[in-house]
Assembly symmetry: C2
Homo-oligomer: 305 residues x 2
């Protein structure tokens, strides 16, 4: 299978490099560091062992890329509007696009853009970053869960999972909606609260008032998902997520890193869309709605967006 | 009538000085600037015309003060625990204590401390500050509403109002609970949100997401008050408060000034008590509860309290 990577950053760059390193045919779209990667390759500094790719099948524009069987999208979701012209050159009849992004509603919006496209969700559990051209730092974790959204060829989704497994990436198939909403249980409280209070996960949990708030916000997500008919959403999952976070190193979620580096924050898919989906079904998430409002103000004020 | 002032700051200092300037017998408790005031007097720089008091009946300790007919308390409510030993030297059988403070539950707590005390609420609508010893800056407004909490002598409350009127202070008698909760409609959103987002009232209203949030929080207060049986609480009051705030100069509420000057914030009476009162009656205020949690974290982190 031929893979295309749109967004060769901390996420797309990591998973694409792992696949290429295991011998898969992988084609990378690069932007700012295209020249660098063309000349010097891609370097992954990983907790599991460093490796490099050189040469890299790198492209400055999807128009120059071949059609692919599978496209992994690792863009920040704030740029998903670009997919309407980035994707078509890579598509053939049965291309599967995997959105390795955070949030709720991503697949719906892409499907509206491309009604016949086969789409899956990729849920990455990884600490990685790209801080210099062509260099990806993989700190810890690294698994990926794949949830089928609209792919009629179930065997294709299985094949992607198997390719990941062969590449040494812990991968599993999961139920799409359950996976997206379960990830939101962690993402919605911690991404926004670390920005709103300019802090890290451990600090939020070390103070009783914010620990309670994080827990309350997690319950809002769980109850919204239950209300929407998502399976296997139980209140105990909040306690499990808090316990897991306690065991992590002090952590700045991706939205906090975006804020710190003055990049636009993924407010739409992390907050607005799930809150709207719940509201349209008659369920309100007041504390996360307030957090969304605070983040919009912060984004406007500090990032001028 | 003899007046005692506990807390000769921006509030107690202003109203006490107005009364003394109009010829009333007023005795001031001073703390840090006792020596300065003893020597140089009290100076009020006021939008209504400057004036000074010299000499001032100033005391470093309530033990040295005479018993009073009326005591005006202008302390920050975080110091109300001190009243248990500050008040007794000033009290006689029928002393009326007027709490010119922000929040909900102040009178209840003082009554629990002194079960037979006559208490009223003073609701100040004023922009004033004390930035140097013995000097009070009165920027604008200045009226005071008085709500009788437990004073059996209605004529005494009327006499206090009349003394204020004679002193050139716009004063009126109001229904106690309605007045406290109506003030909370403005106080709860703006005090905390200007701290949480490190901003001013005009900025909060200039961005649609925070304007909506402020409005939502105002409705939480109004609905809580309705639920508690408070009279004359209508949703339209939120619009009126927002419109009034738009017409004000960009404003930092008292909690924002406390935060900026690293003084402890009045979280207990501005948030915890009203939220608890509503919760105990079965009504929840999720957005203001979240704001309370954020403020506790901020207070702990920046003020070490």
């Amino acid at each position: 299978m031929r893979y295309g990577i749109i967004g060769t950053g901390a996420i797309g760059g990591y998973y694409g490099s792992k696949l290429a390193h295991s011998g898969k045919d992988v084609h990378f779209l690069l932007h700012k560091d295209y020249e660098y990667v063309r000349e010097h390759g891609l370097h992954v500094h990983s907790c599991d062992g460093d490796f490099s790719l050189n040469p890299v099948q790198a492209y400055p524009d999807t128009k120059d890329m071949p059609v692919c069987d599978v496209v992994l999208v690792g863009l920040k979701s704030v740029n998903n509007g670009l997919l309407s012209h980035l994707l078509p050159p890579l598509l053939k009849e049965d291309t599967l696009v995997v959105l390795i992004q955070n949030g709720i509603g991503l697949e719906e919006d892409l499907q509206a853009m491309f009604p016949h496209l086969q789409i899956a969700a990729g849920l990455a559990f990884i600490c990685s970053s790209k801080t210099e051209p062509g260099v990806i730092r993989h700190e810890c974790y690294g698994s990926i869960n794949i949830g089928n959204y609209s792919c009629k060829q179930e065997e294709k989704v299985l094949a992607v999972r198997d390719d990941f497994l062969q590449a040494g990436v812990k991968a599993a198939l999961v139920e799409y909606r359950e996976a997206r909403w379960k990830k939101a249980v962690w993402n919605m409280p911690f991404n926004g609260m670390t920005v709103a209070l300019n802090t890290t996960t451990d600090q939020l949990l070390s103070h009783p008032s914010t620990e309670r708030l994080i827990h309350d916000q997690m319950l809002e997500v769980i109850h919204a998902a239950q209300h929407l008919g998502v399976q296997n959403m139980h209140e105990a999952f909040a306690d499990k997520m808090i316990q897991m976070t306690r065991e992590m190193v002090p952590y700045s979620p991706s939205m906090k890193l975006d804020f710190d580096f003055q990049r636009p924050m993924e407010i739409d898919y992390l907050y607005t869309k799930p809150i709207e989906e719940a509201r349209n079904a008659g369920f309100s998430m007041p504390k996360l709605e307030m957090l969304e409002n605070e983040l919009r103000f912060i984004q406007h004020r500090y990032l001028n967006k």
